[in-house]
Symmetry: C2
Subunit: 349 residues, 2 copies
DNA sequence: ATTAGCACTCTATCCCACCGAGTGCCAACA
DNA sequence: TGTTGGCACTCGGTGGGATAGAGTGCTAAT
């Protein structure tokens, strides 16, 4: 992208103005608001050029210009400068993220809610990807004949459990034996290295008759696998309706419809995360407009950061807002929430 | 409410027509659609009367009539007849409520989702009110120094747990002792009869030094109290935007804003439930329009039924939809989902 | 009690004219 | 070659005015 300095400034100004006014910006109003030392005609030429490059576009012939997806992208990649939040804003966020909760999940929900409140957009977080964390404890508790609770404590300070069905005839002692054997052999193993086979070999030594044993082991395995399933937390969906960008109802409907399928959104975030490998940037993922492949999000931007529960266990937190957003501001807000989250998470590990 | 037969029929017809067309209904179109053996002028007189009684109203001078809240109320109380769902519809619901889940919570979420899909409205359910269920098991598991997991199995087949902080120095054995003492003394007690004092006396016999013991007992008590806290599950909020009744955006915004505060909604459902004491009806609660004290729900109706996990443990499930709904249909849908839910719940108790 | 007839009311819709912001282009200028 | 003033043109948005249509209330007759 070869742009001389003034053209860069023009694009910058157009994005800024459009973001703050929500109206296509014309050459004249550009002169009025900014200190360009040239005439409006010159800017018109520049704008024609920028339009030719696909960085801006006009809604109709006789309107001003608005940034295209590509224009926003250029803005985000090379034009904007990010500033720290003011102490007031920082304090506000710190206050909101209540640190007295007992479980990581609550902390994450808390941060997500805070992020939605401070940005005014929809926020979301993924639960930590636990596949790299390892088992610290595994207990199977009899609940009643035929039913047991598998409780797992993971290295990342997370506790997971699952109710499972077991054969009716099994005694308390038998369960304890199996539970002990699994724990003894699998403690220290990362979740993603635990397979059904691993669990079955772990349970070998116990003197429990074959078919019964096998069922319990299978259930234990299922519980372990469920523990590293990903959850997504969405917050502030209703804020979409407060944004002028989605006043058209049709757009809002599509967007909310898509967001209501949280599994789909989670899948998309995962895809993004996986595609990040070649990431040159510092853990931020930004998708703008049509770059987002989810239906109904063409007018949105999707920005996430990566938080860390431990070195190897991380998740994502971010927002979905209109393309027309104050990128630098929102990014610093996400960044600050992420940092605060990381700090608070140390308590759990 | 003294209405001669024809006036009742007129009101009935107005509600039906308005619900299906979403347009104020006039005397003439009433004649066209229904077999009234009188002229439109006569109906006009009747309608003037109904309006005088506050059962219908007109949006403006030269428009047809629409039912008022009071009109809908009369319709619901004495006019409509409820029919069973068709076998097809029943099957559809039965199929959707997946019965293979392992936890009551999942079953309830499932039913809520199904209800939203079949009615096309927002659906919601309250978690079971567990205060009448009793403790069947209580175990405290050490997770790491300073942290433990309290696991409770309740009579209603529900498992609850909570991570709690405990003094660092406590050993595994000490925790086991305390856990055993609590379980021994509190098993069989309904949750609402368990107080901090009860827990403390239960823990008396253990040979654990005073201040440490006291803290653990307090945490155990807190865990028990948390177990009977109510949760609310909302589903299908986005469907609001598909309803012509909320096409005005402002209304939709208010409604979604209110629903986003799920605690508030839960509180309201509870209020309704408590006010139901004098209930002559068969467990349905219906609130129409202004009868609902939640902000932004003036154009809605709120209908819930009571499901039962056990004789003494129940919760609510229902929908929030526009006042202009097919009451009889929606009520049978809720009723059927509730019955299916009750049936499935027997597996857990 | 019911009906036909009539004057009246009010909204929704369409049409049209006009305003204004903005553009593209051209010719002139530094 | 880049910049500027000027100008004709475009197009969406706004507001007024006319019209159609559905519905009402009232009155007088049955």
């Amino acid at each position: 992208m070869q742009l001389d300095n003034r053209k860069k400034e023009v694009l910058h100004a157009i994005v800024d103005d459009y973001v703050s006014t929500n109206e296509p910006v014309g050459s004249k109003s550009l002169i009025e608001r900014h200190n360009f030392q040239v005439s409006s005609a010159t800017l018109r030429n520049d704008m024609a050029e920028l339009e030719h490059l696909g960085l801006i576009e006009k809604p109709h012939t006789s309107a001003g210009r608005i940034p295209s997806d590509k224009g926003y992208r250029e803005y985000v990649n090379s034009l904007m400068t990010i500033e720290e939040l003011s102490p007031r804003e920082q304090l506000e966020i710190e206050k909101r993220i209540d640190s007295s909760v007992d479980e990581v999940t609550d902390l994450i929900k808390n941060a997500t809610h805070t992020l939605s409140e401070t940005t005014g957009f929809v926020s979301l977080a993924m639960s930590p990807r636990l596949k790299k964390s390892f088992l610290k404890q595994l207990k199977i508790l009899m609940i009643e004949p035929g039913k047991a609770l598998v409780v797992m404590v993971l290295s990342a300070g997370v506790v997971k459990d699952k109710v499972v069905r077991i054969p009716n005839f099994l005694s308390d002692e038998q369960i304890m034996k199996i539970s002990g054997a699994i724990e003894k052999n699998l403690t220290g193993k990362p979740l993603d290295e635990i397979t059904l086979v691993t669990v079955e070999t772990a349970g070998k030594g116990t003197e429990v008759p074959e078919p019964l044993l096998k069922q319990v082991l299978y259930e234990a395995y299922a519980a372990i696998k469920q523990a590293d399933e990903l959850n997504i937390y969405l917050d502030g969906e209703h804020r979409i309706l407060e944004l002028p960008d989605f006043s058209s109802l049709g757009r809002a409907r599509d967007l909310l419809g898509t967001l209501s399928d949280s599994g789909m959104v989670a899948g998309y975030v995962n895809e993004m995360e996986n595609a990040r490998e070649h990431g040159t940037d510092d853990s931020f993922m930004i998708r703008i407009g049509q770059e987002i492949t989810l239906e109904g999000l063409d007018d949105c931007s999707f920005i996430t950061a990566t938080y860390n529960l431990t070195d190897s266990v991380s998740g994502n937190i971010g927002v979905i807002g209109p393309k027309r957003m104050l990128y630098s501001k929102v990014i610093s807000q996400i960044d600050f929430v992420k940092k605060k989250l990381n700090k608070e998470m140390q308590r759990f590990t």
